[in-house]
Amino acid sequence: MISIDSLSFDVSSLTRHKRILSDITLNVREGECFGLVGESGSGKTSILKCLAGQFKGWKGRIEVKGASIADTSLKERSNTMQMVFQDPYGALHPRHTIRKILNEPLVIKGLSNRAERVEKALKDVGLDETFLPRYPHQLSGGQRQRVAIARAMILNPSVILLDEPTSALDVSVQAEILNLLASLHRRHQLTYLMVSHDLGVIAHLCERVAVMKAGEIVEVVSREDLVEGNVTHPYTKGLLQHAFSRE
């Protein structure tokens, strides 16, 4: 579904040259939930941003559903791929009602039956139509994240990019959102590419995970190998040991 081949990304200014991503190659199968784990600055979010079109000027080849994303416009790309961000407080327009927030992608695409689609998308994430006239500040963090997920789902994409979707939430709310993501994944045959720094969250949702360090993928492991500790790279071992010692 997603195939990334020798992706590199550099940022340079007059005085400095910095390599953000170096030679990333990975393949995400259709219907898979794939995780990216690593510390801040390891480049995990940068991969999502290259995919989502927020970063330009990367080198290499990225294909989504068999089509190179360098050749597809952002508008076309948004039909197949949507993103959910870390901070539900920053991701929703503070002066738009929930109705307007969910309506906007439909207006941009010129789709009909908007009211119907908006209500269905809300119901899909466990909210009802009483939320429509409200503003984001009237919602809790978990409810906002549900709205952000509904907005991503409303165009029926096949791929959803999740950038730390639960790290700004309390643990009890995190459990609700993880359950929601798992159930949407099952019901709609979605493909997830999820970034997290929490191995517990990754192992809960993802079948495979790529461990990143300093802009490179050091290892790709399956969930089974991860929970049994069958990892080879010392960096992964360190992360895993730390995660186990916390439980």
Binding site: G141, D170, A175, A182, H197, R246
Partner: protein, 281 residues
Amino acid sequence: MNVLSVERLNVTFCTDEGDKHAVRDVSFTLNNEKLAIVGESGSGKSTVGKAILRLNSPSTRVTADTLRFKETDILTCSEREIRALRGQHISMIMQDPKFSLNPVVTVGDQIAEALRVHRRISKRQAREAAIAMLQEVSIADPEHVYGQYPHEISGGMGQRVMIAMMVIPEPDIIIADEPTSALDVSVQQDVLNILNRLIEKKNISLIFISHDLNLVKKFCDRVLVMYGGRVVESIRADELSNASHPYTRGLMESLPSLRHRRETLPVMTRDPAWLTQEPLT
């Protein structure tokens, strides 16, 4: 001996939209120990920490039967007395070093300043003490770091600088409000080890405010679990896995686990009675 005693502490925020009762009847005593206050956002844990230092805004109403540090009554003492308390006897480490360090003063001068407001010592002595302190928090090249500005150092280093600054006046109590939640996991452990070593060496009591149950289970001696502004359970940290309050158990169970994966995570149903019951001990 009790270093700090708190009895029936109540905090109310008075706003245009009415009063918000954020902390309700919180009571605890702090001995020479590491006490954790855990809870979800909005449970009132940080508000308790601020009330101890009388840092709440003027529109906040704070009442308590007792709020005493050793012989000093925190609620009624003068502004001058509370200033003498802050920093020298009770100090506070905030969540994010990016926002709590002064961006236009070198980190070394900030540490030296923390000492100079409380002690009558020369600039040179303060500088030497600050460099020694930087060494104590495991900073490799303290002379060099002394002259750096906060934006030039990493988050983990910034938090170690914060610890150095709070420990250097040798207070009796440190209140640490989520000191590691802005840091990467590999750095978190280093910072906690340094904090632990210093408070044990200097015999400092710690109030550790956190939302991370797994972390306090390992790091602290005793845990107060807060929900809706109240303490619902007070429990020994190593007993957390066998907690009896449904809220504490709910929090523990909702964490995704590497060892025992479940298809669906248990979701808590909140009982309104939790807001009125007496805390479990």
